[in-house]
Amino acid sequence: MSATDWNDRICTLGPFEPAPGDGFIVCRCVEITQGDVRRAVHDGMFTLHEVRRLLRCGMGLCQGQICGRLVRGIVAKELGVSPTALEEVTARAPMRPVEMRVFGSEEAGA
């Protein structure tokens, strides 16, 4: 049997069934649970980009440094693929939160 082509969004995982652990918070910055992530995949969000854009997990203060691997694992498990088969997500500047007055300054050492 060939692997499912998740690019064809006609593929379905069937209806969402609640599972133990769904209440577990995976992204603490924006309080997203394992169940939220699983439900998003069942709703057709078959890539990490789409899951993140839908739920904002990984886009809060820590920028995914804490939840990134967990979310990847949950999405991969739902799709039945290896976590490494999922795409890399984009790291965004600035690498840690920076105040506007600092980011906006043109002065050396400010």
Binding site: N7, D8, R9, G44, E50, M59, L61, M100, F103, E106
Partner: protein, 375 residues
Amino acid sequence: MNNTADVIIIGAGVIGSATAYYLTRKGHSVIVLEKSPFLGDGGSSRNGGGVRQSGRDPRELPLAMYGVKHLWPGLSEELGMDVEYCQSGNLRLGKTEEHLAILRGLTDRAAACGLGVSMIDAAQARTICPYLSEEVIGASWCPTDGHANPMLVTLAYYRKARANGARFITGQRVQAIQKVRGQARRVVCGDETFEGDTIVLAAGYGSRAIAAGLGIDLPMNTLLMEVLVTEEQPPMFSQMLGTAMADFYGHQSKHGSFVFGGSSGFEAHNRDDGRPVNHSITAPCICRGVMGYFPALAGTKIVRTWAGWLDEMADHIPAIGPVAEVPGLLVGCGFSGHGFGIAPAVGTVLADLAAGDTPPLEVSAFRYDRFKAKL
């Protein structure tokens, strides 16, 4: 797998996805082909979320006003997802007499088209938004403007269209549209071919190369624009904000982050290595713009920045509608940096045209062949 549908849509941005949804609502079969592995990865997930009528080209105003009146208010309910639509007005700010003259011009032109927009003084502006810099001396005010979350709107259209039976395929780059007996019918992607009675070309800038294959030129360029997002803050104000000089624009989102967009002035000359990446000078420039109008935000931290391409048409408004030389082809592209706010209305119009129904608005101002040489 059946590669034939009533309508084939090229591009799964907010325009393609909205069109797909409105077509499925009418009971039509739809296939949407998207070159990116991710849905809505173009401008549609990268924009500032403005749902504005003020500041628009008069030709675009009817679409903007129709959407705000008839489509945006019920969109979350209709799509079964809170898309964070917030209608609490747009303030466009000025600090000098020259700024106010610009704002008055914009306001007069929009008011002449029937939009409720007016000039207000500094005290009125501060009543609406108490955090304005002391330097602000006046503003234009459109109380029916607003904002929404672009990532959610695009994915909500996709999710609902998919639930209604639309087939979306990502990682599927369209190379050509081919005619069959004089009618646009076949859509070619590598060794896969799709067929539809109507083809909707909604591939942003990518539409230009595809249309060129049919001998149609859509005169547009790309332009990179940038956005930044702050850490979450307690609710401060809910309006959409902009300035006479376009120093920045933005709003506070539902979860508390501020989303601000802007430019450095070097957009036409930015390096382009094929990916939409930030330029180091732009976000700091946006920060200076924001602090100049909202000193209270100087200590707020930036957590993310990103960049996205606009598909800038020669006269800054899109091409929407049928192509006379190619029966069966509809275009919807070239939104020139303001296609998000009008996406529900444009999707409605394109779905009506594709289905052979009469759209609620006339779109001949957006003809693809309106471009004439200067002499």
